[in-house]
Symmetry: D2
Subunit: 111 residues, 4 copies
């Protein structure tokens, strides 16, 4: 299944519940951020060995929740996520040429 | 292109730059959150009519950046994003049955 | 009680529980962000009239939690919060002179 | 200077610029989160020795910005921050008694 089909399922789920009325832009942003925090909570305070013991099932759920909000925001602004991602990988290739960015964690404007 | 192929491109990009060494779990979480904030910045303080004028190109870039971090975290924990999303949509269907959640923004534990 | 005394109480609370060992910089940042999300959760999806009904007690708790993390980070980097705030208000006065910023939500570099 | 006086200076600064009109609850939450991300950016990808070299001046500015948003939200909901913090420290003392929480990073509901 490609991103478009997944997104369509997510939007269908939303519409079956008549939730679009709540999905104002700033609420979607808050919701997205809350999901990121739920992912963070799985790892907070944990050492590397404790991180290895975080149940994969929980990580999967939180990653999926974040994607669901991405799909909501994308739909709101009529963005084709797949196309956006492909274009961004290409743009990042220009901002971070291998020759300059290899083994460096500097931002592109500091390279 | 499906999510697996997109993710593979993202990981290839990372490995060509030898960036995996920096991608500790907590740094990926910080990075993910920073990208969400960059999306927020596009809309901060804006009225509905101002929101409509935010350049779609910028929204696309920020959504893509968020997905890129999702792909990084998924790879770190060996999560198949597509499978995780499909499973979560199903789980959400159980937590939010249409009959109880129609037109309501309550959390599943308050329905 | 001034900020210094409040911060000292917070640090004393931490040390009585031997928690400093967990307070690595990146964990404090995750913790701070999680608290901000808990504040967000009180308001998510809510209309203005629903916002007015959020229990003030809950808002107080979340604001306090955010401050507690601020105090943790400040102590870690030996920052005098009060002095930092006073200095920032002054700096903001230079970045946002009344004549240029009155009634505008533009960032200082766009004024 | 106590928190009340600092907060009053922050509110005076806001009112001199006629910014209250922009300070809707959800925008303040987005703004608060953006400031937390700016603090995060100072530390992203950095090793412990690199963290030690982050300019203290930058940390001070970001901590102050976060406090400024705290003061904005507190004013909006008529919260006395100092009182809220003192009350929360006491509540946390009940949730995290020293005997149970010493040397543990568990949440109070898992102790």
């Amino acid at each position: 299944m490609d991103i478009k089909e997944l997104s369509q399922q997510i939007i269908k789920f939303r519409d079956q519940r008549n939730w679009k009325q709540f999905h104002k832009t700033k609420d979607l942003l808050l919701g997205l951020d809350i999901e990121v925090s739920e992912l963070m909570e799985l790892f907070l305070w944990k050492s590397n060995s404790e991180i290895d013991q975080v149940p994969k099932e929980k990580i999967k759920h939180e990653l999926a929740d974040i994607f669901i909000y991405l799909a909501y925001v994308a739909e709101k602004f009529d963005v084709d996520l797949e196309e956006a991602i492909i274009a961004k990988i290409e743009l990042n290739g220009q901002k971070y040429p291998v020759s300059k960015s290899f083994g460096s964690h500097k931002k592109y404007n500091e390279l």
